[in-house]
């Protein structure tokens, strides 16, 4: 085991990107993720990389487009309102099939909202925040260590699928410190970037575009993208199940809320209620199968989110009417507490008995 360091989620995300071979960062500041660009602004030059604070989020995402098109490992990070500004560029990147990593450290919205944690960008992240019907692969860490591990995976997955990958965190994961180990990992064998625009000497020229004026050609292109999303759904779904074997009631939550739910589950079990947790780690592709299976064993599932109900729609698709799906959420930067979750579960259990 390597040496552990005590580090904030934001800084850990920055260092993990460096360790994953990312050498380009383009972004524009916004709370609560500023430590990511701050960290990378001095770390990237140390490793021969390039950090640019762009004039806007829109400029930054197109710098990402450019570097990705040249075959570089590149990322940007922002928080909710800033991610909204990047949506056009993300759609172009998805359309042009370029690999990159986008970190969203979510804060309360809509609009400028507030700076405290939120999970209200779930729809935007998983259903295609920009236009045109594309998907990102979306990874949702729950701890600082997992943020590190998923950042490394994010770059590999982006290269594997030639697709933007989002790491969807929240303000608490960014601000929190935990001991972290930066594990040495074997280099993955990934497809060579023979599509990149990096000098066409001795080969036919490459073209990177998202413009297809011929509808038949565009349909073929979209079907190709679609097949890619199906491949992701087949190969990349990740989910944690916690104390589900004997569970009579299930909590569904991701990110920070999932760990708060774990504490609630411990309290509930001390009171004789066998609760368990299903925690999607990939929120796109979503672990529908896990929810389909679990809904054959339990009658009630409580979805808890820092929003007024977004992931619940995917949970319902997975459950497909085989269990009751309940909801509890806080919003605007308020965070659900384990006491509140315990109360909600006790209420459901009581209603069942009545």
């Amino acid at each position: 085991m390597g040496e552990k360091v005590l580090i904030t989620g934001n800084e850990a995300i920055g260092e993990a990107a460096i360790k994953a071979g990312c050498r380009f960062f383009f972004g524009y500041p916004i709370t609560p993720q500023n430590k990511i660009p701050e960290y990378l602004s001095y770390r990237l030059p140390q490793v021969g990389g390039c950090f640019i604070q762009a004039e806007s989020e829109i400029a930054a995402i197109y710098m990402v487009f450019g570097a990705a098109g040249a075959g570089a490992r590149v990322m940007t990070s922002s928080s909710s309102p800033g991610i909204s500004l990047k949506q056009e560029g993300i759609s172009y990147i998805a359309g042009a099939e370029l690999p990159c990593v986008i970190v969203n450290v979510m804060r309360g919205g809509p609009g400028l909202g507030g700076i405290l944690p939120s999970q209200a960008d779930y729809f935007q992240a998983t259903k295609g925040g920009g236009h045109g019907g594309y998907h990102m692969l979306v990874l949702a860490p729950s701890t600082v260590q997992e943020s590190v591990d998923l950042m490394t995976d994010a770059f590999d997955l982006a290269d594997k699928y030639r697709n933007p990958v989002m790491v969807l965190a929240d303000g608490y994961i960014g601000q929190m410190m935990e001991p972290v180990e930066f594990k040495e990992r074997p280099q993955k064998v990934l497809p060579t970037k023979n599509w990149a625009i990096a000098g066409a000497k001795n080969r036919p020229r490459n073209l990177i575009r998202s413009l297809y004026l011929d509808p038949e050609e565009l349909e073929q292109h979209n079907l190709k993208l679609h097949r890619k999303y199906l491949e992701m759904a087949k190969n990349e779904v990740r989910v944690e199940t916690y104390l589900t074997e004997d569970a009579e009631i299930i909590i569904a939550a991701y990110g920070t809320v999932a760990r708060i739910a774990k504490t609630a589950i411990k309290m509930l079990r001390e009171r004789g209620i066998k609760a368990g947790l299903v925690r999607p780690i990939t929120v796109y592709p979503f672990p529908y199968e896990t929810f389909a299976k679990i809904s054959e064993k339990v009658d009630n599932i409580l979805v808890v989110e820092m929003s007024l109900g977004q992931m619940i729609e995917d949970v319902k698709l997975g459950v497909c009417g085989k269990a009751k799906v309940h909801f509890y959420g806080r919003t605007g930067g308020m965070v659900p507490t384990y006491d509140e979750i315990v109360t909600q579960i006790e209420k459901i259990v009581k209603e069942e008995v009545a």
């Binding site: 552990k4 005590l6 709370t31 609560p32 507030g114 700076i115 405290l116 303000g171 608490y172 601000q175 929190m176 410190m177 935990e178 001991p179 920070t256 760990r259 708060i260 739910a261 774990k262 504490t263 609630a264 589950i265 411990k266 930067g333 965070v335 507490t337 384990y338 006491d339």
Partner: protein, 182 residues
Amino acid sequence: MKSLYENVIVAGFGGQGVLFIGRLLAYAAMKEGRNVTWIPSYGPEMRGGTANCTVVISNEVIGSPVITSPNALIVMNNPSLDTFEPRLKTGGLLIMNSSLITREAKRNDVRVIKVPANKTASELGNDRAANMVMLGAYIAHKKVVTKENILEALKKYLGEKKMALFETNKAALEKGIEIGSL
């Protein structure tokens, strides 16, 4: 390793070093092989407003890093006492800075330790080490980390540039341990 679960909220004015002693505690806990989370309040606070952090230390995987009713509370000023005293767990530990706090604790179901932190630090020649006195009193009671590991954390976080402050901070920590052990 002995089973352990502890959580503490450290609160005071911005500039009193409450986030700093939280970090020292978290680092020391990590050195002792524990799991630990440190989470600051990062709301839109005013300069000179209140600041706080929550530290959770455990042998097991840590669930919630956010704590509703903490086992212990280290409060440096009146507003922090007003905010957090009602939230302290029954039987919990309340360490209050009696140099700045002008009222008595209202709770009678918790253990109250009064520490004249600013006065003590001032007598040791470093006004700003009041936070270390408080931390000393806390570890004297809770024994979740050793003094040695706090000192190692202090060295790390002061860095070369501020190493001149090490001795007075160490003295403040030791005095705090002494006060806390009474």
